[in-house]
Every structure is written in structure tokens, then in C-alpha cells.
């Protein structure tokens, strides 16, 4: 795919595909066996093993909640296991803290950013004793330009923070680098650069443990994959063409049936004729979003595609009532609407699934309270709750999204994917007119993704309009009827869903003139010119920060 190296021929351990805990070959860089961890009644890891050879990129695979993050946290000393052995360079170790792990050569980029929000980047680097020059070099290589080291971290967008996290880890020159869903929050252009950098590590001194739910990324950069299921290592696989199926099978156990190719296959919406649910006319937000106009019809899933910081955040903020537009007009079901608060939007039937779970969930409350939250917000609903009715509604939503609620007393105990489902379930439980989804499948496993696609199509079929921003371009073809591409705060292209393949979308996202076929190698050059375009358009500094 995206100009990343083809599978390098790393000597494979075994061609049989699956070996339960491959008998240790000499010179393993990192080896963990029998690692277990429980949280109260929840067993996060039962018996996990991982063996990493020098110079390999090793995928750690598993469905949501399989225990991947837990294993990485244990390996880098962020939490303590109940049992298990960890050996680095063949020597057994107990790691008490990330700082200690780092001294042993183990460094992780965790699923959530680990940058101190109230310190500037320079201070963050000093805190972690990261050498400055290598850091700069890595930041540059990873495609983050014009990073101002004196900016406070809390003022930087999530994607920049992820890149900073990664560059910082690389600058430390670790022996084993663990990346927990590094690419989930990145726009396509940055993902590409990250994969490239990871690919370059292959065959060197350093090993990478790579976690991602995107099979395509695994195929692109990984040599081997360890698969976790329900806290247990169920297999180690050589990644070669065609092993995808095998990995998925291992991940999900016996339950896999053929995953539908296109979630929306069955539906052929009369998109052209249905009444518009949402009409956006000339919406602007300062300099960041300029003159956005489109229609979202009942029964339609409309994709939104953009590189990082092209105005999509502002668009969704305006539509969800979080921010007032500086100009333009909004119609919901043909009636003019003006949202001063998310409550206004919700009242009008326009609901928003935020991408950042930390932003959307009451982490210390139950799944049930989280899902039922929107029902009680209006003053009229402050009185006694009809508990049986609530239970019915919530149970239906939980069932529909197949949420694992065993740790549901407190949402923070759920795995990332299940948390994500809760954020969606909240809106599925009530009736929606317009569903705004901002990267809803971020960090979600392959099966759940399929469920969400089906769900979005179902909702559309039931009459809702769905607006779906996605950073995973493949999704557009899978679920969207149409897609619009935003660049520099403007809508620059509209495509029909079925035709919107990745190449098309990327080209549009970089705002390249159509017609020219983009050779994969030319991506870099394209980036340069795209950057130039933004400059001319006078995009403010914040947005210009991340340009591939």
C-alpha cells in the first residue's frame, strides 16, 4: 500500500503459521511467559507470552479487551503482573516503573498520550532526558513540520502529541519499542510516515512491538504476530501474504464467519430523492472552516475525509452545538437551526459521537448510567427515573452493540473498544435524526468495526442521516453512500461512496489536481505541494503544524 516497503524477507521461525509459544531460539531480545493480571473479578491477562527477536517488527494482535495494552503496560513497568517471567536479552528482570524499563531498553508509546499537558515540549523532553537533536530529526522524519518546541503540550492537537510521543521514544534509542495503537489517532498522511519509519527498523538492532487493529498496517510492516485471545496467547504467526485470515481466526476463536465485504451492500438508498435531514450552507468558523456546504439526506451515510486539521474538527463542533459558527446557515429537517449548546443540537435530534472516549464517558460510572445520560439532561427529566423503562432501553442498546458489560460497574474498567461502543450506544438508545460520528472506529477491533458499520447502515435505513468522519479511508467505500473531502477549510471534492477508493480520496485530500495518476513514490512530493497550497491559502499556524 502507501509506499511502504514490501515484506522484507526476515528469516521465519516456522512456516506452519501457528506455534504455541515457539521454542525459544537463541538471542531473543525480549521474552515474556505466563504473564497474568487480574482487576478484581476481571481477568485481564490469564497467561500471555511474547517473544521478540532482534530486528523484527512484531505485531501484537487481539480483539478489544484481549489484553494487549495490559501486556505492554506490564512489560514496561507501568503496572505489576500477578505472575509471569520477563527476560530481556536472556536475563530475567522485574520492572518496577517505566523509568526502570527504559533503562533496560524497553520503551512504550502507550495508547493514551504521555506528554505532560502543562509543560512545553522542550520541558517534556528535558523531563524524559531525551536528546534534542535526534528528537528533532525523528520529528522531521515522521512528517511533523514546524513544531514549535516552546508550545504548551495542551495546546497541540492529539495527532501531534502522538508523533511527539513516538519521536521521543525513538530518540531514546530503545532496544524494544512498543507502539500501542500508535496509528489509531493519526490522519492518513502521518500514518504513512509512521509506518515507513517503523518499516525501516526491520533488520536492525531494534525490535518493534506493534499494536493495531488495522490488518493492512500489520501486513505492511510486521514480520510476525502474536495473537492474544481473552488474556491468553493463542498463537504466533509469520506475517505473509494471506495470513490475515488466519490471524483473524485466531483472534476471534471459532466464531468467525465470512465478514461482509461491504456493510452497506444490501441497501441501495434512494439518496437522491429522500428529504434532506441536515442542510449546511456556507458554514464558517473563523479562518479554520470556510464556506462549507452540503446536504445530508435521510437514509444516507455521508463520509467526510480530510487530513489532520483541515477544518473537520470545527465542522463537527458546529454541527454538534459545541461551537457557534461565525457565518452560514444550518437547517435540520428543513427548519433553520441555531445551536448554542450541545443540548440544542440533541433536542433537534442531531447527536454526536466524539472520537475521544475520555471526552465522552463518565469513567467512574456504570455502563447503564453512561448510556442513559442523555435522557436525563433536560430539566423536565430531572425527576424520578423510570428504572424498568431505562433498563429495557439500555439493555436493548447493549445487546445491539454487543457490549461486554461484565466490568460494567465502572466504564473505565472496560477495554478501549467496549468503551467506544458505549459512546455510540448512548445515542442508539434514543431516536436520532442526524448522527455525527467522528472517527467512531478508532481503536476498535475488526469484528466490532463490522458491527458498527452495520449499525450505521441500519440507522440510516431507519431514516437517520449519518455524517461519518473517518481517518481510515477504507471505511468510506465500505459504508458511505457519498463522501466529501475537506481541504484548507473548504469542501474541495464530492465523491460517490462506491468509487471512493483510497487513492482517489488521498489525492483529493491532498488537494491534487485530478487526472494525474499518483505514483506511490510521489506521495512525498505531493505532500510538499499540498503544504504549499495551505500556505497560500493562509491557513493559521495551528493547522499548518501538521502537514505531511
Amino acid at each position: 500500500m502507501l509506499g511502504t516497503p514490501v515484506f522484507a524477507g526476515v528469516p521465519s521461525v516456522s512456516a506452519t503459521g501457528m506455534v504455541l509459544m515457539s521454542p525459544t531460539t537463541t538471542g531473543l531480545l525480549l521474552e515474556a511467559t505466563g504473564v497474568s493480571k487480574t482487576y478484581g473479578a476481571v481477568v485481564a491477562l490469564k497467561s500471555a507470552s511474547l517473544a521478540v527477536q532482534p530486528g523484527e517488527v512484531h505485531a501484537l494482535m487481539g480483539a478489544n479487551g484481549a489484553g494487549k495494552s495490559t501486556l505492554v503496560k506490564i512489560l514496561t513497568g507501568a503496572i505489576r503482573p500477578e505472575s509471569g517471567r520477563i527476560a530481556v536479552h536472556g536475563r530475567e528482570r522485574t520492572v518496577h516503573s517505566p523509568a526502570e524499563a527504559r533503562r533496560s531498553g524497553l520503551v512504550s508509546v502507550y495508547q493514551e498520550p504521555s506528554v505532560i499537558p502543562d509543560l512545553d515540549i522542550r520541558a517534556n523532553l528535558r523531563l524524559t532526558e531525551t536528546p534534542l537533536e535526534p528528537f528533532r530529526q525523528w520529528v522531521h522524519d515522521l512528517g511533523l513540520k514546524n513544531l514549535d518546541l516552546s508550545r504548551l503540550a495542551r495546546r497541540l492537537p492529539l495527532a501531534s502529541l502522538r508523533i511527539i510521543d513516538l519521536a521521543r521514544a525513538l530518540a531514546i534509542e530503545p532496544d524494544v519499542l512498543m507502539l500501542d495503537e500508535m496509528t489509531a489517532a493519526l490522519p492518513a498522511n502521518l500514518t504513512e510516515r509512521v509506518l515507513e519509519v517503523i518499516g525501516l527498523q526491520r533488520g536492525g538492532e531494534r525490535s518493534v512491538v506493534f499494536i493495531s487493529h488495522r490488518m493492512i498496517e500489520i501486513a505492511a510492516v510486521c514480520d510476525r504476530a502474536t495473537v492474544l485471545r481473552e488474556g491468553e496467547t493463542v498463537g504466533v504467526v509469520d506475517v505473509t501474504a494471506g495470513t490475515e485470515e488466519r490471524i483473524v481466526e485466531l483472534m476471534l476463536g471459532s466464531i468467525v464467519e465470512g465478514l461482509p465485504e461491504r456493510a452497506g451492500e444490501t441497501s441501495t438508498p434512494a439518496a437522491g430523492t429522500a428529504a434532506p435531514r441536515l442542510t449546511v450552507r456556507g458554514i464558517a468558523v473563523g479562518q479554520k472552516l470556510r464556506d462549507a456546504s452540503f446536504e445530508l439526506r435521510s437514509g444516507e451515510v455521508l463520509g467526510v475525509v480530510a487530513l489532520e486539521g483541515q477544518g473537520q474538527d470545527e465542522l463537527f463542533d458546529v454541527l454538534s452545538g459545541s461551537e457557534r459558527p461565525s457565518g452560514g446557515e444550518l437547517l435540520v429537517d428543513g427548519k433553520p437551526a441555531s445551536f448554542g449548546h450541545p443540548a440544542d443540537a440533541i433536542r433537534a435530534g442531531v447527536v454526536y459521537v466524539a472520537s475521544d472516549r475520555a471526552e465522552a464517558l463518565l469513567m467512574q460510572r456504570s455502563v447503564r448510567e453512561n448510556i442513559a445520560l442523555p435522557f436525563i439532561t433536560r430539566i423536565r427529566r430531572w425527576g424520578p427515573i423510570d428504572l424498568p423503562a431505562e433498563r429495557r432501553t439500555v439493555d436493548a442498546a447493549v445487546k445491539r452493540l454487543q457490549i461486554d458489560v461484565r466490568a460494567g460497574n465502572e466504564v473505565r474498567r472496560l477495554s478501549g473498544g467496549n468503551q467506544q461502543k458505549v459512546t455510540i450506544a448512548r445515542w442508539v438508545a434514543g431516536g436520532v435524526h442526524v448522527l455525527l460520528c467522528f472517527d467512531p472506529t478508532r481503536g476498535i477491533d475488526i469484528l466490532t468495526k463490522q458491527q458498527i458499520y452495520v449499525l450505521l447502515r441500519d440507522l440510516a435505513e431507519a431514516g437517520a442521516g449519518v455524517l461519518l468522519y473517518t481517518s481510515e479511508l477504507k471505511e468510506v467505500q465500505l459504508v458511505c453512500d457519498r463522501a466529501v473531502v475537506i481541504f484548507g477549510g473548504r469542501i474541495v471534492k464530492e465523491l460517490v461512496g462506491a468509487e471512493a477508493d483510497e487513492a482517489q480520496l488521498l489525492r483529493a485530500a491532498y488537494h491534487l489536481r485530478s487526472g494525474a495518476v499518483m505514483p506511490e513514490e510521489a506521495a512525498g512530493a505531493a505532500v510538499e505541494s499540498a503544504t504549499g497550497d495551505i500556505r497560500e491559502a493562509g491557513a493559521p499556524k495551528d493547522e499548518a503544524e501538521i502537514q505531511a
Partner: protein, 331 residues
């Protein structure tokens, strides 16, 4: 746009603008202070040397207390035992120094400062070890330290070494410069600036800003917190010694410094959520509060309405600040 060099150089405007942008609140406070001084001169034309000298010595205990509170609040905690620690260290110092030589007095000051560090460390260690929220531990410890102060002496008394009084009372060189102000600025600068510049300072802000991220960045949360409390204990002891120095005695009953220090810290631009602010803002806030107090006297405001006015001003300044903040966020 070619090499890495371009990407990370700081432009001149960044160097100049960002410290101003980051210290807007403190600068605004300094502005308020200037306005208040002019206002004071207008309502009380005779305001001059005596006023400034009185101001200098008056703010000393609360200023140190505010610095003490600021340190721990920056680290994401809060210390409700500052008033009690001040009382305890102040009675110990005054009791030991009574009728002793100057040299012994110096030894007492050093010893009491060390004790303050021990007290602060105890607070911090309890917070870290018990994992009970800071506010609970320090609230409970405020009873313990106040009780200890009463054990030391049941009534106010003792005496400060004369040199200690001379250290803070009166002018320094120029009659307009109070010694107390010099003492305050020098001590705070000597202790705080190296701390803030060093790795420990970074850790303080890191822990206050986001504990998880700090831990993952290799900061030892426990050690940082304990050290923060130790530093707070040290500054609280300096506040207690200023009490002894300005009143020449030790009082076992804690004064109103705990809550006042929290108020000063918030007024001084330190976020109670941790991770943001510095120690100089709170000092300016203390000066502002004291001048307001003086102006009430000059204006002959009825004491009860003065109390009301104090509450309204406290709220008003913060309402003003957050209205500005909300406006800015809208834009």
C-alpha cells in the same frame, strides 16, 4: 522548507511573546497593584514611607504561606495544615530563643527550618503512603500540628532573638525599601528559582499536570510529592519564623493563614487543579490583598462592610478573570 533545522528554531517573537502570554495573569495583577497604589495615594495623600514600610512587614507571613501553598498546589496537592505548622514552628522558635545568645538563635532558626522540612515530609509521606486525598490528610494533620503547638506552650510567649527582629523590621538602605521585602524576595528566589529551573521543578509541574503521564515519563510520583510537601513545610516554617520575627513571640493558636493562603494562591494565578502557575503571582496577590485592607481603613469603611467588600472583591477578581478567559475561548 528543507532540513530539520527549520523545524524547531524559535523565532524572536516566540521568545518575547510566549512568556508574556503565559504570565498574563501575573502581569494583570501587577497592573492592579499599580492602580491600587495610585488609588491609595489619592484617598490618603499622606500615604508614604510609613505606609510602604508597614506594608512590607505586614505581608511577610502570609506571603511565605502563599508560596508554601503554591508549591504544593502546583504539584497537584493542597496543604490545609500550613496555619498549624506556622503556629508550631513559631512557638518552638520563640520558646527556644528566649533569653539565649544570638549564636544560639541562629542555631534555632536552622534547626526549626530543618524541623519544618521534617514536618512537611511527614505530611507528604502520609499522603503518598496512605493514598488518602491530600486535603483529608493535611486537614487531619492540621489538628496534630496545632495540638503539638499547644503542647510546646499553652499560651503565647517566648521571645525572638533581636537580630531576627532587625532582619525584617525597618528599611534597607533606601528608606523606601523595606527589609522584609528584600528578605522575602531573596529567600524565595534562592530556593525557588533553582528548583523551578531544575528537573525537580519539571517533575512538580508534571505530577500536578497529569500524574499518569508523569509516571510514564519516568517521574517518581511519590518522591516528587514528598519533596513538594517538604518544600511547602520549609516555606511554611519561614512563614512561622516571620510571625516570630514580626511579633517577637510565638502563638500556639493558628492564625487564619491556611484559607488565606489558598485564596492568595488562586488569586495569584495558580490553578487548584495543579500544574499551572508560579510562586510570584501569589506574592503579588498577597500585596494586593493587604493594600485593599489598608484602603478600607483609609476610607473608614465599617468593619462589617469591609468583610463583605473583601468577599466581593475576591469573587469579583476571579469572575473578571474567567469572563476574560471565556471571551478569549469564544474567539
Amino acid at each position: 522548507m528543507s532540513a530539520a533545522a527549520v523545524t524547531t528554531e524559535r523565532s524572536l517573537s516566540d521568545v518575547l511573546v510566549s512568556p508574556i502570554r503565559r504570565n498574563t495573569w501575573v502581569l494583570a495583577l501587577l497592573g492592579l497593584l499599580a492602580v491600587l497604589l495610585v488609588f491609595t495615594k489619592l484617598i490618603q495623600p499622606s500615604y508614604g514611607l510609613a505606609g510602604v514600610q508597614g506594608l512590607g512587614i505586614s505581608i511577610l507571613p502570609l506571603a511565605f504561606a502563599a508560596v508554601a501553598q503554591a508549591v504544593v498546589v502546583i504539584a497537584g496537592g493542597v496543604d490545609l495544615s500550613i496555619g498549624s505548622v506556622m503556629a508550631l514552628t513559631s512557638v518552638i522558635a520563640a520558646s527556644l530563643m528566649e533569653g539565649q545568645s544570638d549564636a544560639f538563635g541562629v542555631a534555632v532558626v536552622v534547626g526549626v527550618l530543618l524541623l519544618g522540612v521534617v514536618i512537611g515530609t511527614t505530611n507528604g509521606a502520609l499522603v503518598v503512603i496512605t493514598r488518602v486525598p491530600d486535603i483529608v490528610v493535611t486537614l487531619a494533620m492540621s489538628f496534630v500540628w496545632a495540638g503539638c503547638a499547644l503542647l510546646v506552650r499553652s499560651a503565647p510567649g517566648g521571645a525572638a532573638s533581636p537580630w531576627l527582629l532587625n532582619l525584617v523590621i525597618g528599611p534597607f538602605g533606601n528608606p523606601w525599601i523595606p527589609k522584609a521585602a528584600i528578605v522575602l524576595v531573596v529567600i524565595v528566589a534562592i530556593i525557588w528559582i533553582p528548583v523551578a529551573r531544575g528537573r525537580f521543578g519539571l517533575s512538580l509541574y508534571a505530577v500536578g499536570s497529569n500524574q499518569l503521564a508523569a509516571f510514564r515519563s519516568g517521574v517518581s510520583i511519590g518522591r516528587t510529592k514528598v519533596l513538594a510537601y517538604a518544600l511547602t513545610g520549609l516555606f511554611a516554617t519561614l512563614a512561622g519564623l516571620s510571625l516570630t520575627a514580626s511579633t517577637s513571640i510565638g502563638t500556639p493558636v493558628p492564625g487564619p493563614y491556611t484559607l488565606e493562603s489558598v485564596a492568595a494562591v488562586v488569586l495569584g494565578g495558580v490553578s487548584l487543579a495543579g500544574g499551572r502557575g508560579g510562586v510570584f503571582g501569589p506574592i503579588v496577590a498577597v500585596v494586593v490583598l493587604q493594600i485593599i485592607q489598608n484602603d478600607m481603613t483609609f476610607l473608614n469603611v465599617d468593619p462589617n462592610y469591609a468583610l463583605v467588600a473583601q468577599g466581593v472583591i475576591l469573587i469579583g477578581v476571579l469572575v473578571f478573570g474567567s469572563v476574560i478567559e471565556i471571551r478569549r475561548a469564544r474567539r
